[in-house]
């Protein structure tokens, strides 16, 4: 069995699966259960400044998006940071870390954007013996209205400033958690790096309204007839999160900055994909909140089996392996030609490929009177829509046209690699000549 041991910023854990800062990590009871269930690490739910604890709503905190059969695909929440006294949390963190020295324990923090507030809390956290801190610059609801959370994460200058304070008053690794509620994720990542961050973690939740109650005419979750936008997470956000991870991993200014990948990680495969794009480990929340802590067992067995099959002996061996293959559109090979091909034996004759192509694409699928569907290569632009809508796996595949052969659609012979930067239709390319 493959060795899943993870070393992220020098913080060691028996596997790369950490629980993200969230309700599952709010107190000692849950965190102990998580460790017993096999989680490699935990980011403790965000601590705030000393003083009167924050208050939460007393109505529903979560809203959900379901697939058929009520599979939970997306969750949003309006819960705030921990509503328990700071001292209680600090004592519990100290006890838990002492009892589980081999597990990662990172403390999430969110205090007002002034140096005194950070200077006050950081030594208290340092005393717990926790392995590091994560700066919550991501929460998009409630706390942001008070100038914290994503209100900080949306201003790169603030990110850099607070990170610098943390590096000044805290000796262990500092992870900056980023909000996706921003136009270009590279800017806050660059700011975190400039501030001396040891790593970034992303994504935090996305501003969202999951649904509207059409009788109450109010967004859900509804609190006394009103609703507030929440933070969206779960399987539905994974594509957005992975793109942001890849953007940071391949940005020359932040390349090499360690990343903790967050956003809809539900299975071993999700974790492997985040890590292939450059995340050194992953953080999980919604999967645990949906299925319980035991769900990590599948992540462990699955990642281990996949690593064995691929011959990887440590997780570091595949971290970032897919990053070099994420590129800009302008560098894609415009001479790469494929054509859809329908396996007639596998085809169940539903006609979805036909109508998708006929109504919304390039009229490249022919239908006979006896419901035989065939691709017309001279019209097929290889858009892949037919593959995507076909209910039968591997029934329609994209077959590469070998070099030197003629594309029946364009009449041109397939040539060597060439991209937009040198294409005849590109005014910039022509100007460069």
């Amino acid at each position: 069995m493959a060795d899943l041991t993870s070393n992220f910023l020098g913080i060691k854990s028996p596997n790369p699966f950490w629980l993200a800062s969230a309700p599952p990590t709010d107190k000692e009871y849950n965190v102990r259960r998580a460790y017993e269930a096999g989680w490699g690490g935990v980011v403790w739910k965000t601590l705030g400044s000393e003083g009167p604890p924050v208050v939460n709503v007393n109505g529903p905190r979560y809203g959900a998006i379901y697939g058929a059969d009520r599979r939970l695909l997306g969750l949003n929440n309006i819960e705030l940071i921990t509503d328990r006294p700071l001292q209680t949390n600090l004592e519990e963190i100290t006890r838990v870390k002492k009892d589980y020295p081999d597990r990662a324990l990172v403390v999430s923090i969110m205090v007002p954007c002034d140096e005194e507030s950070w200077k006050a809390i950081l030594p208290l956290v340092e005393e717990t013996g926790a392995d590091g801190i994560e700066l919550n610059f991501g929460c998009p609801h409630g706390m942001a209205e008070r100038g914290m959370g994503s209100a900080v994460g949306q201003v790169p200058e603030y990110i850099q400033m607070v990170t610098e304070w943390c590096k000044k008053y805290y000796s262990k690794p500092v992870i900056v958690k980023l909000t996706p509620n921003i136009t270009d994720i590279r800017n806050p990542a660059r700011a975190a790096k400039a501030g001396g961050a040891d790593a970034v973690s992303l994504i935090n939740t996305i501003n969202s309204i999951t649904s509207v109650d059409l009788d109450l005419m109010a967004p859900q979750p509804t609190i006394g007839g009103k609703g507030s936008h929440g933070g969206y997470c779960g399987p539905a956000v994974k594509p957005i999160a992975m793109n942001m991870v890849a953007e940071i991993a391949r940005d020359p200014q932040t390349h090499g900055l360690p990343i903790s990948g967050i956003g809809g990680v539900t299975t071993w495969r999700d974790a492997a994909e985040f890590m292939a794009l450059g995340a050194g480990n992953v953080q999980v929340c919604t999967a645990a909140m949906t299925y319980g802590f035991k769900v990590v067992q599948e992540m462990i067995s699955g990642l281990s089996q996949w690593m064995d099959e691929k011959g990887y002996t440590s997780v570091d061996q595949f971290v970032g392996m897919a990053t070099p293959n994420v590129t800009d559109w302008q560098y894609l090979d415009l001479n790469y030609v494929t054509k859809a091909k329908i396996d007639q034996d596998a085809c169940i004759k539903c006609g979805r490929c036909y109508i998708a192509c006929e109504d919304t694409s390039h009229q490249a699928i022919l239908m006979s009177e006896d419901r035989v569907f065939e691709v017309n290569d001279s019209e097929c632009v290889a858009c892949n829509l037919c593959v995507d809508v076909c209910p039968v796996e591997n029934c329609i595949t994209m077959v590469e046209l070998p070099k030197g052969e003629v594309d029946p659609r364009t009449g041109q012979t397939r040539g060597d690699y060439a991209n937009w930067t040198t294409h005849l239709n590109n005014p910039s390319a022509q100007a460069a000549e």
Binding site: D69, R71, T267, W268, R269, Y291, G292, K294, V295, Q297, E298, S301, G302, S304, Q305, W306, V392, E393
Partner: protein, 437 residues
């Protein structure tokens, strides 16, 4: 030409291709897509009722999730860690009265997650793609005799071998496998699965199989106790209960018919009656009746002395028999066999006891199978309880150093999966005793 109508007990009632179709897999195996769709229905319940209902306590929600995420091999390991004969159990377990009966989706919707078929998908995938998934611990130098290579003996031997002990597995019949090899309907174990599974199980190493030897026939319990550090008895039930009626000699044991059928190379050569009557109401009765029909018997009747509700064969098995054209008769008991017919007497419960009503009927019967239970043939001088070897929860018998499990031992239902659990648990106890842990 022989047909279903040909009188007497003859072979070749059906053409070879029809017989071959009849004895095909009862449930075709899932392909990868079907398995993912079926797995997707599992809710990953907490403290899952299915897991509690499984005699071997397989972590069913976990293995199904592992199928969902495209790792059926990991799913198989989850299964086999608890139940080394998970492949066979996936085929023969009466899931409708175990895991699937209590599945929350069965309770809520009458449509359980198809746990048995998913288990088969996982175990078949692993057995096809990988070698044996477990490794032996370092040799302990301890030796254990396991008598009987049925499910209990195989599970015990495997767990002991895994712990590093050296196991000699004795079997009276020519092949290992016990009822998996000789006693289960053919359409539940196609393509020689029982033998393939035994060969795969033995890949763990450290197990020597000696056939043609059993307790009282080449082996004595005292001799084994002297020669080995521990003894496990999984000898099953070798005897067949008698009907105690006139003409009994004309009846044959259903288990012998099933064994002969399972070992037959050519089912068109296997004789079966035109009119077959099976006495009994359990799985063996159903297996014998259905297979008689599949061989081409014109009429097959199961005669059970109690009501349908009391029939030990599950509703699924009853439905299977009915679908294959077997007639189910309830509240009748045999009184005489002779002249190609059987006389049955109706029964009723009076004052809490089952008794004949005096009213009789006659059915044509050129072949009568008795399937009213099996009995222990050798007790080895051990304490017996209700006709079986008395054992504790961990399989300890009345003799120090001797354990027993499976059908021959007291407690539990006579199911493959129960036998596996008992063999496994006895092995754990033997290990603890031998190693002083």
């Amino acid at each position: 030409m022989t047909t279903p109508m040909t009188p007497g007990i003859v072979s070749g009632r059906l053409a070879a291709d029809e017989i071959s179709r009849n004895f095909d897999d009862l449930h075709a195996p899932y392909d990868a897509h079907e398995a993912r769709v079926a797995a997707d229905r599992c809710y990953f319940c907490h403290d899952a009722p299915c897991m509690t209902a499984c005699p071997t306590s397989i972590d069913i929600p976990l293995f199904i999730r592992q199928i969902q995420t495209g790792t059926p091999e990991a799913a198989a390991k989850t299964i086999l860690t608890q139940n080394i004969l998970g492949g066979m159990c996936a085929r023969v377990c009466p899931t409708e009265t175990l895991c699937e009966e209590v599945c929350v989706r069965e309770v809520a919707e009458g449509k359980p997650v198809t746990i048995g078929r998913l288990q088969r998908y996982a175990t078949d995938t692993l057995m096809a793609r990988q070698g044996h998934p477990f490794a032996r611990a370092e040799a302990t130098g301890k030796t254990v005799a396991v008598v009987g290579a049925g499910p209990a003996g195989l599970a015990c031997a495997h767990r002991l071998a895994m712990k590093g002990h050296s196991v000699t597995l004795f079997e009276g019949r020519p092949k290992a496998g016990g009822l998996n090899e000789y006693g289960i309907a053919s359409y539940k174990s196609t393509d020689d699965f029982a033998a393939r599974e035994v060969a795969w199980l033995l890949e763990i190493g450290g197990i020597t199989v000696e056939t043609g030897k059993t307790l009282g026939d080449g082996l004595s319990l005292d001799g084994l106790k002297t020669d080995y550090d521990a003894v496990f008895l999984g000898v099953g039930l070798g005897g067949v209960n008698a009907l105690r009626i006139d003409g009994e000699e004309a009846a044959t044991a259903a288990v012998d018919f099933i064994a002969e059928l399972r070992q037959s190379d050519d089912l068109t050569m296997l004789p079966v009656g035109r009119n077959v009557v099976v006495i009994g109401g359990g799985m063996t009765a159903v297996d014998a009746a259905v297979q008689s029909k599949l061989l081409g018997a014109e009429s097959v009747t199961i005669a059970y002395r109690r009501s349908r509700d009391e029939m030990p064969a599950s509703t699924f098995e009853q439905g299977l028999a009915a679908a294959k054209g077997v007639r189910l008769l309830f509240n009748v008991m045999p009184v005489a066999i002779g002249d190609g017919a059987i006389t049955l007497e109706y029964t009723a419960t009076q004052n809490g006891k089952l008794a004949g009503t005096g009213e009789t009927m006659s059915l044509p019967a050129d072949q009568v199978f008795k399937a009213i239970g099996q009995t222990l043939t050798t007790d080895g001088g051990l304490v017996i309880e209700d006709g079986k070897i008395a054992v504790t929860d961990t399989g300890r018998t009345s003799a120090t150093g001797v354990w027993a499990g499976g059908d021959c031992a007291s407690g539990g239902e006579d199911l493959t999966v129960t036998a596996v659990a008992e063999g496994r648990d006895a092995a754990e106890d033997i290990h603890a005793v031998l190693m002083g842990v």
